[in-house]
Symmetry: C2
């Protein structure tokens, strides 16, 4: 990162140094200054999916608060169903390509597959010297897979919030009353045609409410983002609770109790402890006998979960996952079908009842489930580190995004409310990989040991792992306010 407007710091995270910038409402006036300096007078937000309804209103509210003359509009197709929704959210709406032609900053939040279909037209409509911004590197990944580059007279940047759209909006609103609330972002400058391009990215990230901004590249971002959501953030956590719930049923525990021992335990107390004192704190919260249960589950689960997350990373990195998302999205659109529901099973209908009778004094902190979940987190941490991702990215995409942004949604209203408030890319990927995790649990983890089985001691790498310190380092920069989902 390189800025004359915003203060950049080099800080220690884990065993490395990283560049970060602090955001927060105290720096809003610098946003005004940066937009003026970089001549960003006209901003258009393309799309109204998961991130659009968060970033559009956040940016608008910030501009209003600082009296910036910059104008922000939502660019939509003339017949888009979203026009009314964007207007209802108080946004000015403009026809998409008219908006792009006038814009100094195009914030492209169209769904990933839609970007593939439209990027040539979007690029062609942009002014020379303007800036194209993404909140996700999907298109960059696609262009990499086909060996194409972007015209060299525009800037290309990324501002990638570490949370789903609804969280980005909720915490921004909470931050109006309490300082320090917000979802952090990682940012990237992929192409700097005009100079001062970091200032544009920083202004955008701070304007939508990020308390801290980390540095990344779009290439690192799409790899970790797709892996993380298919892995422990959505796919793995879903598969784990499905399998453990069924395992309890098969062991004659009634369905309500099984739900309390799985989802309620995970989204309630386990998530709370994790968010306050990390994985070591979670482990240490158990007595000696339960720590043994935690270790045993951790050891059995780590290997199968790690193999699956390695496979996910390989599918993502190769471009095959991107190809799958594009094909699946096109298939849905041309057939007019919607994605299948994921919460019609006994587990989730039971969950509705259990949630409605929730009694926090009756929470169970299930050590076996905690050990499995920790193994999933650590497996993903180890895979991402092996592929060179920075500690801040690893920690955000494996731990903080879970407890701060996603799990609270499962806690409030179940699996579909968590998954289906995310991007189409995440929703599709969860439906592909969730069942794989569930199956690995059922076939490899939750089975009686057999003669000759050797359960490796993976736990030996848990205590003393650099990630515990890296998480605590990142927590210093984390939102002061927890999300409230109701």
């Amino acid at each position: 990162m390189d800025s004359n407007t915003f203060p950049i710091q080099s800080v220690q995270i884990g065993d490395g140094q990283e560049s970060i910038a602090r955001g927060g409402r105290g720096l809003f006036l610098l946003v005004r200054q940066a937009l003026e300096k970089t001549k960003v007078h006209n901003i258009v937000v393309l799309g109204w999916g998961s991130q659009g309804p968060a970033q559009g209103p956040n940016f608008r509210d910030t501009l209003a608060e600082i009296g910036s003359p910059a104008r922000i509009r939502v660019g939509l197709r003339a017949k888009s169903d979203s026009i009314e929704k964007a207007k209802a959210a108080g946004m000015e709406v403009i026809e998409m390509f008219a908006g792009i032609r006038e814009a100094d900053l195009v914030i492209c939040l169209i769904n990933d597959a839609g970007q593939i279909g439209q990027y040539r037209d979007i690029l062609a409509a942009m002014k020379s010297g303007s800036t194209l911004g993404f909140s996700h590197g999907f298109l960059a990944g696609y262009l990499e897979s086909i060996g194409e580059t972007v015209r060299s007279d525009i800037n290309v940047i990324g501002v990638c919030p570490k949370g789903m759209g609804p969280s980005v909006r909720k915490l921004y609103l909470q931050g109006k009353n309490v300082g320090g609330a917000g979802i952090n972002s990682s940012i990237a400058v992929e192409q700097d045609a005009t100079g001062y391009t970091w200032d544009i990215a920083l202004a955008w990230a701070i304007a939508i409410g990020s308390p801290t901004i980390f540095e990344t590249t779009l290439g690192m971002e799409w790899r970790s983002d797709l892996t993380g959501e298919r892995g422990i953030l959505l796919g793995a956590v879903w598969g784990i609770v499905e399998a453990v719930f069924q395992h309890y049923l098969n062991n004659e525990i009634n369905k309500e109790e099984a739900f309390r021992l799985t989802v309620e335990s995970l989204t309630g107390p386990i998530n709370t402890i994790l968010s306050k004192s990390g994985m070591m704190g979670l482990y240490r919260s158990f007595d000696e006998s339960d720590q043994q249960g935690f270790r045993g589950s951790y050891n059995r689960a780590y290997g199968p979960l790690r193999a699956l997350i390695e496979e996910i990373y390989a599918e993502v990195d190769s471009g095959r996952e991107i190809g799958h998302v594009i094909a699946a999205t096109n298939r849905l659109q041309s057939s007019g079908q919607t994605m299948p529901e994921i919460d019609r099973t006994l587990m989730w209908t039971t969950g509705e009842t259990v949630r409605s009778e929730r009694d926090v004094s009756d929470y169970r902190v299930t050590p076996n489930l905690a050990g499995i979940y920790a193994a999933g987190i650590m497996a993903q941490v180890d895979v991402l580190r092996a592929h060179g991702h920075s500690w801040s990215e690893v920690v955000n995409e494996s731990i903080i995004e879970a407890f701060a942004s996603l799990i609270p949604f499962m806690h409030a209203r179940g699996i579909a409310y968590m998954v289906d408030n995310c991007s189409i890319t995440a929703r599709l990927g969860t439906r592909v990989w969730g069942p794989r995790f569930e199956h690995a649990m059922r076939q490899q983890v939750l089975v009686p040991p057999k003669n000759g089985d050797v359960v490796p001691n993976h736990f030996v790498n848990f205590v003393g792992h650099t990630v515990h310190g890296a998480l605590m380092d990142c927590m210093k920069y984390h939102s002061s306010v927890s999300i409230a989902v109701t």
Copy 2:
């Protein structure tokens, strides 16, 4: 097909005409004639996986029986673990590349990912005018995906048995005593450098025991083969029984009875009825009330299963599935790990007990399961037909290969015995897609209806579907003898 040696017929299958050749022991002497005419004196079989231990010994036995001077050897790397196994099966073994350099016909049965690593060396070692043969179009699919072609001075052919290796050997051996036993093949001539190349393919197919030979192309073969094994042949049938078994458990049916109502029902009476009188016969075997159950399950299952098989076809056709297999195989090799076991769960340990106490007079023909299975078959038939596959290929890859070659293995010894006797490509694909089918069943099919749900009447297309006639047409050419797996 075009041959001066073997009789070719044009026959009606379904609503189309197809070229077929009849094989069988009565034509073995023509094999000798064809090998002499095409100057195939030296044959090398590369690899000793699933098909090698079947086709090698079958071809050798046929050559011996007809007193052919042609020599067949197994080509293996100098340090291969398979050398002893091939020798124990009575095969002559030669160092792989020495064998290729001398061979007039190279039968390449190395595992698919291995072919990708070695095809350049294999091609470079081949004599001009010799013939490269495959039992599966995987490499052709890979070359298509990277836009590469094969040197033009050699023939390229395919002889693709419609059954796993062990079945190809078992039925050949049974055929020594009973005329008409064997696994049919589809054959292809992709490149004809010398002329008479169909004769080489026909000789090979007949020599390994195929009673009937159908025409295809390698491009059609790998698409239908990968789709079929990921679909109803392995992945879907596995996913279906896992989900239905668990559904019974959740409805307080004991595990032994649940196993009888699922796997035993499917691999026993349902498979027997299917193999004798097809899907219409299966449907008509139920009384009116059970037919209603069949129809209800068929209607609920067809849509989700069809969507998944469409997705499989898209992944296969795009080359992404091929890329995944190569990456997964390389990952296994470099890590030294084996594929995870698939039969350690309660379902399959229960199955061992139930099989050991099997009482055929106590068989249940479960109408709901039959309806779901029929829906899976029909979904795959409809997908393959929509993509232009011939009726013989569709019927073989969706129905006959199941009841004649695969399901008998599950009946004898369970899921792993069926899946893990197949190719690495099939085994990997089953592990990817089986859990998807299981999950679709649990989340979309085996759930209580909700207000507003509309179950479409897919069954209206079942009665009167062309596939019923096509199946009966293909059955005329099918092995007279059923496989006996013990």
